[in-house]
Every structure is written in structure tokens, then in C-alpha cells.
Symmetry: C2
Subunit: 120 residues, 2 copies
DNA sequence: GTACTACTTAGACAAACTTCGAATTATGAG
DNA sequence: CTCATAATTCGAAGTTTGTCTAAGTAGTAC
């Protein structure tokens, strides 16, 4: 919960990340460090209504449904998306706090940033 | 080179990433999606003078020199750091443009952002 | 109930990744 | 030149990851 107030540069370049912070962030980054998952995240986030059902996503890839499902689970486990079943379909949406957290890590001049909860 | 001017949300949630953009970004993200490399990047960026020699880094990890060297190469290949030999030591520094590019991807309200070159 | 669709789970396998120890290159000191 | 130090390159071992097929769960319609 270190509220950094300097604004010289991106938080990652302000002071050495602790071992535990690095481990935690790496989990989120690993989830996003894949072309398919990046596109899935992007497609979900930019879809009308801020949510997309799996059926909206699978068609864009040359991959089987189980593979897409696996990637969605990875994103979900990392806290980047959240899913909900409504009738026949399962809808996913972005968790903005998680995405903001990643952005804040690498963004300079973001002002006073709290690494734990970059949402306010 | 799509200059997005809307500011509803993070670029990643504005419009679906193209396959090639996703592939390119995933390379950079993969480099950063590891606890050791995250800490290396952070240690280099926050070191006095904006640069650190390998000898400043190895001590912080329970890893052998070849392993650290391997991770530094990964970061370098991804364009996130740059290295230079001066005498006996090799000094690494952050490439700010690369870090900014990652930050811009996930940061909302960043204003008009050019995905290809988020530096200005 | 059966049949059909949407999605997830389980198991298997190849490719990629992390790490190591050993050998190698590069530089400086005597 | 020889020796010592800093760092990288080179295989190899063990682990993780991405993808598939096959099977299972959840819901709708009849």
C-alpha cells in the first residue's frame, strides 16, 4: 500500500518492486502476455454494452471452443475479466480496476498512484 | 498507425486489437510477465543515474549469473532495455518509449493515443 | 423424458520456458 | 603473457503452457 507521490516516471521505474509485488503483478501480466488473450480482452472490452458472450468471440479465431474457454478462464483467474451466465449464453466483461492497475504500473505522470488500488 | 481520439476507456477496450498488433504487443508483455524480469526492469529503472550494471542486479536474486543474463537478454530483445559495455561492466537502462507503449495500452484518459508510438 | 446448442472440464502431447553447470569471450591488472 | 573478474553463450534437465479430442454440464425446446 505504498502511495507514491513522486512523478518522475512510471511506478516501475520509481523504486524496486518487492518480490511479492512482482510475483502478484506477473500473474496478471502473464494472463495478458498472449496474442489470443490480448485479443479476447480487447474484443470483450470494446464490444457493445461492455460485454460479449463466448459465441461472439470464438468466430474470430482459428481455435477450438475448448481452447477459447481455456484462455477465458486464464483471464478470469487473473482477475482481468468476470463472467456471468444468462440463459444459454455466458457473458464476459472487463474488470476495469485490474486493467487500470496494469496501466498505472507503466504510465508516467499518472499523478499520485496507489499501486494496490489504482481506481480512484 | 491508428490515432484513436475517443477517450472512453483504455485503448485495449476501445476497439478490437488486430492480430498483428496483438502479436507484437504480446512479445513485449511476455518479456515483462515474469517476476524476475519485472524486478530487473524495476531495479534498472529506479537505479541511480537511470542505469545499472549487471553486478548491481545479480545480488538481489537467488539465481546464477547465466540466468540473470538470460533474463536481461529477453528484456533487451523485447526492446524494453538497452545495454552498453563500459570497461569491465555492462550497463543497462530502460527504453522509456517501450514502457510508455505498454502503459498507454491499459491506461484510460490518456488522451489521443497513437498505438504505434506512444511517446509524445 | 429426448434432442439440440453453448460452454467447460479432463487428459494428452508437443513446444516453449526457466534454470543450471560448464565453457567461452571481454576487459583490466600485474 | 598470465591471472582474475564480469558477463555471455552453450547444452541439458525439469517445468509450464497452448492446443487438441473426447467427455461432461447447463440451459432451451419439443
Amino acid at each position: 500500500m505504498t502511495a507514491v507521490t513522486t512523478r518522475c516516471c512510471a511506478p516501475i521505474a520509481r523504486e524496486p518492486l518487492s518480490e511479492s509485488d512482482a510475483a502478484e503483478l506477473a500473474v496478471m501480466l502473464k494472463a495478458v502476455a498472449d496474442p489470443v488473450r490480448l485479443r479476447l480482452l480487447s474484443m470483450i472490452g470494446s464490444h457493445a454494452g461492455g460485454e460479449a458472450c463466448v459465441c461472439d468471440l470464438t468466430g474470430a479465431f482459428d481455435l477450438t471452443a475448448p481452447t477459447i474457454s481455456h484462455h477465458l478462464k486464464t483471464l478470469r483467474t487473473a482477475g482481468l475479466i468476470d463472467g456471468e451466465r444468462r440463459g444459454t449464453w455466458v457473458y464476459y466483461r472487463i474488470v476495469p480496476e485490474a486493467v487500470n492497475k496494469l496501466g498505472a504500473l507503466f504510465t508516467p505522470l499518472a499523478g499520485p498512484v496507489d499501486l494496490e488500488l489504482a481506481s480512484a
